[in-house]
């Protein structure tokens, strides 16, 4: 219930600072209602945590940074609408993370708005839409991705699992049939040589519509795969793990979103020995990691989970860029802010992270962890947690800039 009190906090800040005209407004355009609300709300928690921290450090231009929240209702159409509302409210920095489909819409809308309204630009901070096209053919000067992407995640996951001797020779790729899942599938195939495996079969299935994964598990079982690599999230991961448990499937899962709340408790013992690549593991971060977990717990009443750490680190980058952007006539010049963002660099508990100017993709450290009973931080009220296997520095994790990105900078 503590989330209610916390929800009131930004609102109070909003009212308190409404009198000042020129505070920077950050608009969160997230899925806050409907079936995927749980994902949107974790992004929100990360953003709130980071903005509270920004304001505790003095805000910008002597005023607290304002957070305005908009519910995009889980679809690109809603996001497009709410983006217009945000622009009308004077929002200059837009933040969104859940779903690449929505991210694709926002980045296009932002690009068009900036073309048509020179001098009134806005910037899109992408905290979790991980489809490659956003830093590829759709890359633009006012979009910054402060989250990893399919190529980076898969490269690190494969390396980490190989070093832990958990990567089999036969790999099954199962993903959701939209931009993110297709990117994951391509990346899993691309990493075959590096990982020394053969992709025995590839499956793309409908996104979060399937109730019964037993037919898919039967297919995986009969393919003889020793390892399953998947970018699935939400129900598609949870139900797949449960079906694998029911069928007694012996394969090891390499995942991206196993730390979404509810997954470990629902999967039970089946989860043991499976792998995840994520942006933060408190156990791997030493004293800094512990401090981050403690700070987050103090603010939100529970330790950080899922995409919350990566969102908080991404917003730290915004804070870093804001610090280095001087007000012009009391206002934020978005182009100057975007240029500062291009050279943003922050120290996260996992190591140094920086923005790559060429395609506005963050270069950040990633951790490969495995589910065990002797992890320091237990999750979901179970006796299991994520034990770090290896931390990969930002340089180790990085993938080259996509050739399709032609960045146009304002003169």
């Amino acid at each position: 219930m503590s989330s209610f009190r916390l929800a009131a906090l930004p609102a109070a800040l909003l009212i308190a600072s409404a009198a000042h005209a020129d505070a920077v407004k950050i608009g969160l355009l997230e899925t806050l209602s409907g079936p995927q609300a749980s994902t949107g709300q974790t992004f929100r928690a990360g953003v709130r945590f980071a903005i509270d921290k920004m304001n505790a450090a003095g805000g910008w231009n002597g005023q607290p940074v304002q957070l305005v929240e908009y519910d995009n209702q889980g679809g690109p159409a809603g996001a497009s609408d709410k983006l217009k509302a945000a622009i009308a409210d004077g929002v200059q920095i837009v933040v969104q993370g859940a779903s690449s489909a929505i991210g694709g819409q926002i980045t296009e809308d932002v690009r068009k708005h900036n073309l048509r309204n020179p001098g009134k630009e806005i910037v899109y901070i992408n905290v979790g839409a991980e489809a490659l096209e956003l830093t590829g053919e759709k890359c633009n000067f006012h979009h910054f991705r402060v989250a990893p992407n399919a190529q980076v995640r898969t490269k690190v996951l494969v390396k980490g699992m190989k070093e832990a001797n958990a990567l089999g020779k036969k790999v099954y790729s199962i993903n959701q049939n939209y931009s993110w899942g297709q990117d994951m599938e391509a990346a899993i195939v691309d990493n075959a040589a590096a990982g020394g495996y053969q992709v025995v079969e590839k499956t793309l299935h409908d996104t979060n519509k399937i109730q019964d994964f037993a037919p898919y598990i039967a297919k995986i079982g009969s393919s003889g795969a020793e390892t399953v690599l998947t970018g699935n999230w939400s129900n598609d991961l949870l139900l797949m793990m449960k079906a694998a448990k029911g069928a007694g499937l012996k394969a090891t899962f390499g995942t991206v979103f196993l730390d979404q709340p509810g997954n470990i408790s629902n999967a039970g013992d089946t989860a043991l020995g499976h792998f995840i690549v994520h942006a933060f593991n408190g156990e791997a971060g030493g004293a800094d990691g512990e401090r981050f977990v403690a700070d987050f717990s103090a603010k939100l009443g529970r330790p950080p989970v899922f995409v919350e750490p990566q969102t908080a680190f991404g917003l730290d980058m915004v804070a870093d860029a804001l610090r280095r952007t001087k007000p012009e006539g009391g206002k934020l010049n978005v182009n100057a802010f975007a240029r500062a963002m291009e050279t943003a660099r922050v120290k996260t508990p996992m190591g140094e992270a920086s923005m790559r100017a060429a395609d506005h993709q963050i270069l950040m450290p990633l951790v490969v962890s495995t589910v065990t009973r002797d992890a320091r931080y237990k999750v979901d009220g179970t006796d299991m947690g994520f034990k770090p296997v290896k931390v990969f520095s930002a340089e180790d994790a990085a993938m080259p800039v996509q050739a399709s990105c032609k960045m146009q900078r304002p003169s």
Partner: protein, 313 residues
Amino acid sequence: MDTLLFSLLNGVIYGLLLFMVSAGLTLVFGMMGVLNFAHASFYMLGAYFAYTLQGVLGFGAAVVVAMLLAGGVGAVVERFFLRRVHHHGHAHELLLTFGLSFIVAESIKLLFGNFPVNYQVPAALDGSAFSLGGQQYPLYRLLMGGVALAMFALLYLLLTRTRVGIIVRSAIYRPRMVEALGHNVQFVFMGVFGVGAALAGLAGAIAGAFYTTSPNMALEIGVMVFVVVVVGGLGSLAGAMLASLLIGLLTSLAVGIDHSLADLLGLLGARAWAEGVGGLLTLKLSSLASTLPFALMLLVLLLRPQGLLGDKS
């Protein structure tokens, strides 16, 4: 061969689960003419009731009590909400149940949070029934199938072989005449609605442990249940059974088929052209598995609008 057998079994069991949920919906529609949008909400309520009670009562008793509670909620909804708007016509009833489904989903989110709760199959039932070609078949799936079959048999006998069944069936066609004969038709309607809700609750209590118990579960199964009822014929219990099995088998078997239209055209020597065109022609059937039921619904609506076993009226 093993794979095919597994696919068939998986399909049949999933179909039986769909039947458990859709039975109540089709029953209520057949009897009362109410298309109940909140039907899948009773499925969700059943799961959450069982999850909450499991710790106190144990799994078996929790499932039974959850079913009764869901039925009770259903009866209350009929008595105090639907009956009041009944004389305004079906559109009002539809809107009422539509609104109700949102209220239930949001209340669940408020009480239990947005994430799936930890509702598990009890350890005693959590084994494998048999294994075939290196793969195990979960015992619990067989149990789900068994419950669905027992439910179908009971309902069918109740409606066709008992006095209660006679009254219920006649109350649909000639409610005034049944009333004139001294039966309480309002009570019959309440009972039917309650039983429909209880059946959905039972399905939820059983399936929630096997799949997931989350605030989205109503939405996820709700759409498929409507497809089942439309394909089977609104109001037809046997039709719902047939359509459920058909859809279960269709989705399960399609997963194993990696062919596309391009392969079909390949037989005519046009594969290169088809692969050049791409798009729909190279889409594998397996990636469409969960969309196929909707194609089936379209087909049925075009060729036999009353559904496979529905009445023409």
